[in-house]
């Protein structure tokens, strides 16, 4: 029933990115037997949790989940506690601790807030895989302040080949920007005096919501000196990818939605433009006849 999963993915590609969580939950309700396929292929906004041991915030997703519990990258503990929860081997955990610290610095420099988490796990073929998660939310202090959220999920796999390592990176960015505006028109005061008892002046109220999700992949080879090279290598790849995707969202995707609005309605008077063009044609035609 591959086409059933295809239909679900097609549906998710069409419905608003702002309602991904709700829609995935509904789809799982309809087809519980495809829950794993769906959760494995549709990225959802990351959940923010607090490490009970360290008080630090971390991000929860399918990659640090075991049953109903989530593992914190800071204390390596599951919450709610698990006696036999899956944890990385000591060697990989050492790398995971270093990666979390490095990406925490990355987070501070690019996000100036928010939260980050890195989770690593061993692969059967001897390599390992990991996920780098970043999230920032802007909550407005008043009605007309902008709000928004950024979630990025970078899943990578790596295999060492001598002094080189091959990396496969799949990155998803989910973004939402909301602006609310309201204004009382300038004619308000002038019209108050006319006493007709009805609403006076001009009032506006509105909201603009731009949301999007996109996924990109890349495969690259990088040199390795020791295991910590995996952090600098994936760091450079994630940084490069986020710069590229942020640029695409801002310049290409959001720009395109604005252009489409102008394709629907024109600020300029189309009728007078049309008349002008016809007049021009007529003139050219007359000149041609002479």
């Amino acid at each position: 029933m591959g086409d059933l999963v295809d239909s679900m993915l097609d549906l998710m590609r069409r419905l608003p990115p702002t309602r991904t969580e709700e829609n995935v939950t509904a789809l799982i309700g309809i087809c519980p037997e495809y829950a794993d396929d769906l959760l494995g292929s549709v990225d959802q906004p990351l959940k923010l949790r607090t490490d009970r041991a360290t008080g630090k915030e971390y991000l929860a997703c399918d990659y640090n989940r075991d049953g109903e519990s989530y593992r914190s990258p800071w204390s390596n503990e599951y919450d709610p506690p698990l006696d036999d929860g899956t944890i990385p081997t000591p060697k990989l955990r050492k790398l995971e601790i270093a990666a979390n610290e490095a990406f925490d610095t990355y987070r501070e420099m690019y996000y100036e807030g928010g939260a980050s988490s890195v989770y690593l796990w061993d692969l059967d073929d001897g390599g390992f895989a990991g996920v780098v998660l970043l999230k920032k939310t802007m909550t407005p202090n008043s009605a007309y302040e902008p709000s928004g959220s950024w979630d990025s999920i970078h899943v990578f796999e790596t295999v060492e080949r001598g002094r080189q390592a091959h990396y496969k990176l799949t990155s998803t960015v989910m973004l939402q920007l909301v602006t609310r505006k309201g204004s009382d028109g300038e004619t308000d005061a002038a019209e108050k005096g006319n006493g007709n008892g009805s609403k006076s002046g001009t009032k506006h109220e509105g909201e603009v919501s731009l949301s999007g999700s996109m996924t990109r992949q890349t495969e690259q080879d990088w040199p390795i000196l020791d295991s910590s090279s995996h952090i600098t290598n994936t760091g450079r790849m994630v940084e490069e990818m986020e710069i590229k995707m942020r640029g695409l969202l801002q310049e290409v995707y959001f720009g395109k939605t604005r252009d489409i609005v102008y394709d629907l309605r024109s600020v300029e008077d189309l009728a007078s433009e049309r008349r002008q063009r016809e007049l021009q044609k007529e003139l050219v035609g007359r000149l041609g006849k002479r």
């Binding site: 610095t105 996000y111 919501s209």
Partner: protein, 292 residues
């Protein structure tokens, strides 16, 4: 999930359809639910709601124009589950099928003699406005049922371009009340761009205007064109402000979430990040990343 829950979920998916993609969403939902019999019956209310709120357009039988399917044009009487809508422009009513989106059984409809002159004047002015500012726009102008001094102007413009992965819809609705001297408007824009991604714009904007007494008391023709001039001005201002909002979002909100580059204006030196974090005893990160 029981049968009712599945239908409810299906209805919710349909109501979220981006412009021009309701059939794609319906096909997906059909595959997922795989029970056509209960689905058809169950999702009909959602299809109806979608058509009415999204200002679905229909070719009016026996004319060369389209009209808008909406609550304002719904005629009370329904026959055999089908609904009848009015097209005031051709003075006809027709049956509308919410699934096939087709009109049939056209019947003449006598307009209300008191309100028709002003409605017709508004229609003329709106169609001129439509020509001037909309690519592929459709407008319908209704007299509000059982009143003489209230009118509703509806405008919809759609552009569907599935081969280039985008679609957009602009809707506006204005309720003109000549007793209260007011115009209340709502404008909605929805855009979906889905080439290797899923990006959606959704805007709402409400406008309340009071009409100067001079506009209300002039002849229908001059009054209507003045009202449309006000609407033209408001929509033009709104579109310009939308452009400013884009600018603001790009420069402020986007940057507030994630900077394009760190404060240092350089990419990160990962060797230093690692060296520092892995055990260096530097007290602060100042000067670590070059520059600043």
């Amino acid at each position: 999930m029981n049968a009712n829950g599945r239908i409810e979920a299906a209805c919710s998916f349909l109501l979220q359809s981006p412009p021009g993609e309701i059939n794609d969403v319906l096909n997906d939902v059909r595959n997922i639910i795989s029970d056509d019999d209960s689905l058809h019956e169950g999702v009909l209310p959602a299809l109806k709601e979608y058509n009415l709120t999204q200002f679905m357009t229909v070719d009016v039988p026996g004319t060369d124009h389209q009209s808008i399917i909406s609550e304002a044009g719904r005629v009370e009487a329904t026959e055999g589950g089908q609904e009848r809508f009015i097209d005031p422009r051709s003075k006809t009513t027709f049956l509308f099928d919410h699934l096939s989106l087709e009109a049939s059984d056209s019947q003449p409809a006598e307009p209300d003699a008191d309100s028709e002159p002003f409605r017709a004047a508004l229609e003329k002015a709106t169609l001129t406005y439509l020509e001037a500012h909309f690519h592929d726009g459709v407008a319908s102008i209704f007299s509000v049922k059982q009143t003489t001094n209230q009118f509703i102007i509806q405008i919809v413009a759609n552009k569907y371009n599935p081969s280039n992965y985008w679609a957009g819809r602009w809707r506006s609705e204005y309720t003109i009340d000549l007793n209260e001297h007011t115009v209340d408007g709502k404008v909605f824009a929805n855009v979906h761009y889905y080439e290797q991604g899923n990006v959606q714009l959704s805007t709402t904007h409400t406008i309340s205007l009071s009409l100067p007494a001079a506009i209300v008391t002039s002849s229908p023709g001059s009054s209507a064109s003045k009202i449309l001039a006000l609407i033209e001005n408001e929509e033009g201002k709104y579109q310009t402000s939308l452009n400013d909002t884009y600018q603001e979002m790009g420069e402020k909100t986007f940057k507030g979430l994630r900077r394009a580059l760190p404060l240092t204006r350089q990419k990160i030196d990962w060797d230093k990040v690692l060296g520092y974090k892995l055990g260096a005893e530097l007290a602060s990160s100042k000067g670590m990343f070059g520059g600043s």
